[in-house]
Structure formats: C-alpha cells, structure tokens
Symmetry: D3
Subunit: 249 residues, 6 copies
C-alpha cells in the first residue's frame, strides 16, 4: 500500500518530521510518499490561507493520484478535505479529523492542546463540524505570545505538558490530542509525563489511512453515485483538470 | 457606496443578470461593480470546485479591495466566505448566507427550492453551518435529470413554481429561497404565483451588503484583534500576496 | 419608505435616542415614526414583563399598520416578534435578532456586552432561539449591582469598554453587540476604543428593516399560506381586533 | 392542596371538560379551581393569540395567587409559562410541557397527534424548546380542512385513532400525546384501541402540578435569587401590578 | 398503589434513608417497597459499575413485577432505565431523570450540585441524554478528595450549601438538584439556606412515579407495539427469564 | 498483536463468520481470538438484552484481558462499550461505533441499511450518541416481518441491495453501513452491485482496533487520571472482580 502524505505547508522540515512518524506507524504495511507544497505559505494558520493552500493541495494530490492508495492531508484543520474526497477514488484522511475520531473511539472525553490561542477558534470549528463537540472538553493553549513555528516545540514543551496534565486531571479528559503540525512527534516524547492517552495527529492519520484502505475497494469509490458530475475547467494544473473532467458515468 | 459583485463562476451572462438585479435593489444607494472569474469553472456545483473557485475569488477581491466598500460573493454555497472576511476590511456577504439570514428575519420557517437534487446535500450543509436548520423546512427540487445551466430557468420554471407552492402550503414555509445563481431573477417573476414571501438570493445579498456597510466603519474592520497575523506567501497574485502580508498591528 | 419604531418600554427619552440613531442610519431612505408605550413598564427586564409589553406592542403596531412599510420592535429580547410577524403584512424586525444576524454576517464569532448580569439568562435564551449559539462567544457584563436605567450608560461606560476589549482580545470575537436599549448610541462613541466591529442594535434593526423591505413585496406577505386563520376576539384594542379578524383567504 | 386551572381560552365548555379530567386525576389529593378567560379568543391557535392571551392569563393567576398552591395553564402551547414562573411563588405547569416531560419519562419515543396541521409548526416549536426533540417521532395530523373547535372531537375521532395507531406501529412511538385542549378526554376513551401509552395533556398537567407541589416549599420559591427585580407598572390589573411590584429582597 | 424502590447499590443504610423520604412524599397515596442489591457494589460510581448493577436491577424488578404498580431505580445515573422500561408494563422512574424533568418544569435553569468531581462527567452525560442541557447551568462540586460514602453528607455539608448558593446567585439557577444517593435527605435540611428551589432526587422520583401511574393504565403498557419481541435466554434469574420470554403479541 | 473478538450473542455460527472476516482484514498484522457468550441471548435486539449481555461481555473480556492487545465488542449497538473502556487498559472498539466513525471519514454522508425496522430506533440512538447524526441520511430497512436470524441474510439479500442502491442514489449517501451482526460478510458480496462504498461493521471494527492499538501505548491507558477509583464487589466473576478492584493509583 502506498500513502501520499501531502503537506500543504511549504516547510520541508515539517514534512520530514511527519513522514518519519508516519513511517514508524506504517511499518511494513505501507510506503509513505511525502510531498511538500511549493506555493502557498510556510505554515497555514487561518481560513483564508486554508482556502488557498487547499486548492494547491488538490493539485498536488491530482499529480499522484494514479500511484497511491490513500492520501493524508497533513495540516491540522484539514484544508480541502471535503473536495478531495469528492475527486479522488481512494480514502483521504485529515489530521484533525483522524485524531478526533480516533480519540472518540479511545475514551469518553478528549481535549485538544496546542501551542497558541490563535488556533483555538479554528480548532473549535473543526470540532463542531466533526459532530464530536459533546465528547470534547475544549482546547487548552498557552497565553498569547509571538510564535516561531521552527522553535515552538522547544519553546512551549513544558507548558504543553502542564496543559495536557490539567486537561487530564481537571477536565478529566481520557485522551489528549496535540494539535498542529509543528507539534508532530511530541506525543511519544511526553506520553509518560501525562496521565492520559496522548495522540499525535499524524500518527492517527496514518493509522486511519491504512485502516480505511484495508476495508474498502477502489472500485467502490469510482462507482459512487453521489460524486459530482464531470466538469470542464480553465487554468487548473493539467492533472487536476483531468481529474475533474473525468467521466464518472 | 461601491459594492463589488464577484461571480466566481466564469459565465458572464449569469454575472449580467445578477448585476441587473443588484442594481435594481441598490438604486441610488450603491454602485455595483460586477466581475467574472476568468479561471475555474462555468458553474460551481461541488465542494472541490468551491475550494478552487474560492481561492480564485480571493484574488479577484484583492485586486479591487481599495476601491469598494463591500463585497458580494455571487455563488450560492458562498465559496471562500470565511477567508474573505478575515482578509478584507469591509463587509463580505454570501448569497446563501444572506438569503437565509434574511429569510429567518422575515418568517418562522423558510424553504429552499432549487433546480436539481445534485445541489441538495451541499445546500443542507450550508443550512446546518448557518445554525438556521431549526427554521428551515428543507430543500425541494425536481427529480434528477441532466441540467443545462443556460436553459435551466426556462426548463424548470413550472416545476419550481409547483415546488414553491408545496413548500408554502404543505410545509407551511413563510419564506421561499430560490437557491442557485442560475435562478437569479425568477423570484420577482413568480412572486404572485406563490403564497409565500419569495427571496432572490442576489437581491438579499445586495440588500445585506448595503445594510452591513451602513452600520459599520472601515476602521473597525482594520482594528479587529481577531484577524490572523500577516503572512508571507509564494505564488499568489500580487494583490492577494500584498493583502495577506499587510501588517495588522 | 416609512418605518415604525415601536418602543414597548414607557421611557420616552429612550425612544428619542433610538429614533435619532435610526434616522442617522436611514438617511433619506426612510422616514422613522417613533412611538412609545403608554402602558406597561419603564424598562422591560423579564419574561413576564415581555409577555405583557409584547401584547401592548401588538396594539401599538395595529394602530399604525396601514401607514408604514416596516416595523422595528425596539427592545432587546424582541417581545412579541413572532406574533407580530404573523399578523402584519410587512417586515417586522427585533433589535436582538437584527443585531445577531448582522453580527453573524460580519464575522466568525460575536459577543454580547451588556450593563447587568440580570439580563444574561434572557439574552442567552435569545441567542439559543436564533440558532446562532455556535457563533457567539457569550455574554459579558459588569458584576451585579443596582441599575439605574437613566444613568446606566454613564455609570458603566468604562467597564463596558473594558468588557468589549476582553471579548475581542480574549474571546477573539470579531463583532461586539452592545445589548439593551439603554446602551443605544454607545457603539459609535466607543468604536475606536475597541479592537472589533461594534454593533448598535437599533442601528442594525433599522438597516435590516430597510433591507428586508427593499427585497419583498407587501402582496407576498398578504398572500402567505402559513398565516393563521382569522379570529374573533373580545377586549382587544379596535385596531388589533380588526387585524386579527381580517379575512386572509 | 388547591390547584388553579387557568383556561386562557374563552370557551367555558372546554374548561368544564378539563376540570372534570383534572378532578379525576386529583381525587382527594387536590381541589381544582377552574377559571376561564373573559377576554381574548375562543381558542388560541397562533403565536399572536398566545402573546395576548398569555398576558391575560397572568392577570387571571395574579387574582388567585394567594389562595392556591399550584397553577395549570390549560392551553397546549403553554402561553405565558416562562413569565408566570418568574412571578408566582408556586409550581406553574403547562399542558404541552407537562405532557412531553411525562412522555419522556414513560418511554423511549413519543409522538404528538392533533386535529389540524395548522398546529404542527407551533407544536414543533414547543418540542424544540423543551429540548425533547430527539425523543419525539413527530406530529401527526389529519389533512387540512376547516376546524370547528366544538365538534372537532367527534369529527376527527376515527382519524385520530388511525393516526395514533400509525405513530405506534410505524414510528414505533411508545407514548402518544393527544395535543390541543379540544381533545381533552379523548385519551381515556381510545386507550384500548391504540397499541401505545396514550397521554391526555390536562391529566398530565394535573399530575405534574401535584407532584411538583409535593416536593417543594413555597418559601423556596419566594427566596429565589434568580427572580427579576420588583417593578412599577401602568395599566395592569390591580393584582398583577401588585405582584410585579412586590419586594423580592 | 405500591411502588418498588430498587437500590442497585448494596448499602442498606442508603436504602433506609431513601425509603423514609419516599414515604414522606407518598403519604397515604402509595406504599413504598424498598429492596437493596445483594450483589454488585457498595456504591455505583462508574459506567462499568452501572452496566453490571443495572443488569442486577433488572433481576430485582422482575422478582417483584407482579406485585407493584411503579418502579423507582434509586441510583443517580439511572442504571438500566431504558431496558427496564422496555420490559416492565408499568412506569419506571430514574432518580436523575425525575429530578431533571421536575427541575425543568419548576424554573428556567437548574444546576446539579454533588459531592465529588468524580461524578461530573457521568452527570454531564445524563444531562445531555435527557435533552435538557440548554436548561442546565452545569455541575458544581467540591475539589477532588477521597470520598467516604458513609460520611460524605456530614463532611461536605457546608461546602454543598456554599456551592448551591453560588449556583443560585452566580449562575442564576432557579432550581438546584442535590445529585447522588448519598445526599438523600439533605435538600429538606438546607432549603432555607439556599436562595433557590432545592430538589431531592429521591423525592422527585417518588412524586413522578405516583404522577405517571396516576395518568396511565397497565393495559396500555402491555399493549405497546414498540416493545421488543419475546426472547429465550440462558443463565438469567428465573423471573427475569420469564419476563423476557413473555409473549407480547 | 492479539485482538479479542467478543460476541455477546450466544450464536457460535455468527462468531465464526465474524472471525473469518476479521482475520481477512487483519492478515498478518494481528491474531484474532474469537469468544462467544455462553449465557444471555441468541441475538441481542433490545436495550434490556444489551444491559444484560453487556455485563456478561465485561466478564468475558476480564478473563482474557492479560493476553490480548485490543478488544472488539462484536454486536451492533455496542453493549457495555463505555464500561469496558473504563476498565480495560487497551483499545476497546464497538462494531456500530467503528463503522460510523469510519464512514464519517470516507464520505460526506452515510446511511445504515439493516434487515428489520425493529432495529431502527436503537440504531438511531447509536447515531445520535456518536454525534454523527448530521452526516447520516437515516436507517433504511425492509418492511416489518418475522425475522429468523439464521436465514435473514439469504431471505433479505435482494431487498438489502435495493435499499442500499436507494440510499446511494436517492439519499446521496457516499457510504452504506450494513448494520447488524447477522449481515456480516454481505458487504464484500454486494459491493459491486451498489454505487457507494459499502462497509462491513466487523471489518471496520477490526481495522479500527488495529489502528488504535498502533498509535497508543498500554502504559498510557493504565495511567489515565480519568479512570474510576478501584472498588470492591460481590458476586462478579473472579476476573471481573479483580479488574474492578485493581489499584489504579
């Protein structure tokens, strides 16, 4: 099985870290094909950025669509997830969604801990759209301060552990999701310091991509009656234009 | 007051019809500046298409942002609405959202009538995201059949009147929204044949753009603490890059 | 266009302030006809008072119904709004509802700031009934203390600014609604001191009344199939009795 | 224990029927004091009518408040229930609310069956406001036709039985509520013909009034911190004015 | 009328206290038959314990089913309530559910106060499943500490009064539910010290059992079309096996 | 990895079928240990049966808890899932929950198709409790008729295909869940005849058990602060008693 790990952010170091985690989860079960956006933003942190980077992600997936069996959209907030599911005849998994559904199957309540309150409103929207709000104890973050994506993991590590501990002991969350691609890898490092199940979203997305591919057949995706009609377009990348124009009858 | 009417669809005839309606509603109160996408799709009818056309719409708005006082995103389903609100320091109105909020202020229950069941699922999502589901009696459409956007208005007119009548008499909707840009202009034509208040979404969007601009000050938009941080980018149109990079402190 | 501004409170000074704001918003587009309750309460602040003052408001509207094009119910909490919409064949707008729907079209999240925690529970009910709870960050108020409606604006001004600032910076609300008729006019005064879009509910109600009247036809209201049947009554004001007895076939 | 049965409708025959049922339920446990509105409407069937009749109901209760231990508002839809609870220091029970909460404690799912689709929208609102929507299978009614309140019970009896049977066997409702004061007394008559628990709302309201009075103390109602402040008023009945002006410190 | 009070906890002292309160509420209207689990747990405080003790409760009820007219499941959290309602042809009432529905009919907002934060998550689930979340201001508890069920009432009494006072004055709850069987009896003792209506769940359950039995007929329960089909079983108590095997046609 | 497949039904043939599917999904990744209830019911189809069989399932899991890495509760409706998650320090997966969360990650909307309308109400409850109601188009079933669990698959096969086709083409569901253990294995057989992704719940549960075990560590489950306190018990199986009594500090 080949899984495309699409980083809609332009930061290659982030892709490398996430690919490493994905490979550890996948082991021999799947090959991970990591790709990084070459247009867009260093790190997506708003709705406008997700609108643009999501369109770029569709082009990235279209280019590889015939060579992979499942897709991970490797940005918390899951830009273009709904659109990608329409277009591509294979499982497409988002980091936030995979983490939340996994959390909902691991315990009664989960919490999201992330590095900046700037993300809280967007993450709250993700939770609400997933339908899992009743199982979520909320989003915990450090107080506002300037964020350097490159060093955020080091700068906030102690605070994040303390926040995760509070989520477990005060909010009584069974499961803690460490939200945001810059925190990839932290879950395994701090698991022993937090009295809860700690989830790394990229690990969850990898495990879910494998799970979903193992219980579905590509022909079923292709046969979906609910897919949109084929459509002509102007100005899209060659592969994306072809994907959208493909006959679905 | 100058209002930018952004058609993220590439069909100029549709833009012309909508601009005509908008001008009738605006009268002397506002000048309507209609623009039509030059990339993307003839008519957006899916989530994937909305992802892509929404990103194009942001570029279109960015180009005009310094010369207008409010923006209408003239496609039902409201592509890129959340992102546009973050970026631009003026009211940004979506056709679906404006129609639904207007309907919710005009009666107890509203219904959406549109030309194809292919749109139902997307429109139901719009309703749910608006929070107005409890006030909506549902979406009524003709049975499935191939849709020609150019002639849909003529082809389905009698059926749409019958559906609107049923929504009023059977579902007891006070207000009927005729959803979808291809139906622009129909509301005024059929109002006398339907025992309910019939809303044309482009008229509603125009009225709401004027209303919102009349009770807000541009300086307040610019001062919003909740705006995302400025951000560098690669590969965007010049105006959109500048918008996103603008200092917001 | 003529808009009836119905103050169901008996405080004429409040009516005067609100009429002034409404006139500023309306400009040449509409004439504002302000009327003040001559029975009932100085200021409505409970459900029981709204039940009674709402019935009085229906009588007030009935008296003017043939001479105006739209109605504003000028009390936050919107007493008798549902009933007035049934009875009168024109747009009827409530201050709370108009402010919340406007806020929902101006940003991702809004907050309500008001002068007393005594109002919080009622306002929370208004938010829930509007369906907009997911977009509201809550109601912020000063701590409990005796309220003098006449001087509340002066007494709490500094506190209200601080609360609005907190709603913007801590709760990340894009839009702040200053709830309660006694705060009419404050929004414009403090807008520059709050890093958010600040909404004056009477301004919002005026803008919405004009917007809704501009996209609807009186004949459609009269033709609504969902209107209740005509009904005989005893003991109502002459105009209200006639309104309710009017044949609707 | 003395229970005031307030019929906000002007139809005395309806009051008599309901008082008879209430007395059967109460037996020796409570004395029923039935009163009938002398102003308002023969039968409330809209929001506007409920706004007005609810204000009249508050006056009716105020007159008897010192001589009874609990109140039943004997109209489905429960006009002025929230206001009456604020004002009067004793249990106040609504017919719709009592029937729905009783039904929710008797089975997994309940249905409302009533005599006219004209009531459906209002009843759906009642269900939603109670929070019990997830336990309700819907409202079933005969098709639209002119309703004569006096003979509706006789005219629709066979249809109502058939509707109740369908609600039980098709919707799998455990409990059927026969909604609307004109159907008072029907539940006991048809119980053997319906494979479900059939609830008469006036019986439910009586049982709940007794239940609530038996587990509460009048002094606790009087001491409620959450009661609104006392208030002066103009033009109210003497007793209602005194109730609202009463010192609550 | 005979009411079975089933304590699924093994603590007889708790049964005795609850039976005393139930008898006070019932007076001459009903005879209370208290029974205590002889297997299971001293005090149920988790989902796993409720799963097991609920199955035991079904056996306890089955043994008495032919000799009683209604059942109270006397543990907050209401183990096996849904199953018992399916099986037994009479009203079955849970302590949490009865308290919450009663509270919802006594005021606008209720609060739950209990002795340990360990119960909060479970109680929040109960509230959500009842549908009454919008009427609940939350669960207030003392900080975490070891709980001795036998002395918890004495140990936490002052704190519980303070919490109830805060729920009334700060959260503006009209009604306070003292949750958890170990607090049975406290409501009456502290009512005068709390500015709200204070509910004892076992009192509420008793009043509701009587109310529901007074408005229903056993034959209607037996005739329910929505009951599950009869079923053979292995290893159940003799009475429960017979109950589940009983023909329901 | 060793996965315990717990069939709380007593039908061994059903266990065998499910174990076969689970082994196909697991391949070399996990060993499946199937066990079948020796007490309880041939096939669980009600809340009461789930209460009892769920308690039995806890005993079954307790016996194997030290020898497996994850647990599947192999009955749609997921008896004792919440309790099992509290008690056992490993992933515990329910068939209904796993199928629904998988479906929610595979498409915009899913439908459940099952063999009898007797299951509809219970399945609707499962959907609501999962939070995924907004993504579900409903439950489709054949009309009521007597069900023989042994032959139901053969008897209803053609009808189930037709229902699944309708769910895809009329309700526009992207994903169809074939609900109920008696339908295990059908998904793979009919996938080519249905224009949607068809999910077999036991396959989904197996894939999810493996996924969740691959991203979590047993030590984190053991360390959960939100676990209930240890508790003494009477009359439980030896292993379950020991599990519940285990020290969790």
């Amino acid at each position: 099985m080949r899984i495309l790990l699409v980083n809609p952010n332009m930061t290659t170091a982030m892709t490398d870290t996430m690919a490493g985690i994905a490979r550890t989860v996948a082991g021999a079960r799947a090959e991970i094909i990591p790709i990084t956006a070459t247009r867009g933003f260093p790190y997506i942190a708003s709705r406008a950025e997700a609108q643009i980077a999501g369109a770029i992600a569709l082009e990235m997936i279209a280019e590889y669509r015939d060579t992979v069996d499942a897709v991970i959209i490797a940005a918390f907030g899951d830009p273009s997830l709904a659109g990608a599911r329409e277009l591509f005849d294979m499982p497409v998994v988002g980091m936030a969604e995979a983490a939340m559904h996994s959390a909902a199957m691991l315990g009664e309540r989960f919490s999201i801990v992330t590095f900046s309150p700037l993300m809280t409103a967007w993450y709250m929207n993700c939770i609400a759209e997933s339908g899992l709000g009743a199982k979520c104890t909320g989003v915990r973050t450090p107080p506002p301060r300037p964020v350097l994506v490159d060093s955020v993991l080091k700068d906030t590590r102690a605070e994040l552990i303390a926040l995760a501990r509070s989520a477990a002991t005060e909010d009584r969350a069974d499961v803690i999701i460490l939200g945001g691609a810059p925190l990839a890898g932290l879950a395994a490092e701090i698991a022993n310091e937090v009295p809860a199940i700690v989830i790394d979203p990229i690990a969850a997305a990898t495990a879910q991509a494998i799970a979903l591919a193992s219980i579905t057949m590509p022909s079923s995706f292709a046969a979906r009656a609910a897919k949109p009609a084929s459509k002509s377009s102007v100005g899209l990348s060659r592969h994306l234009e072809a994907t959208i124009a493909a006959d679905r009858a």
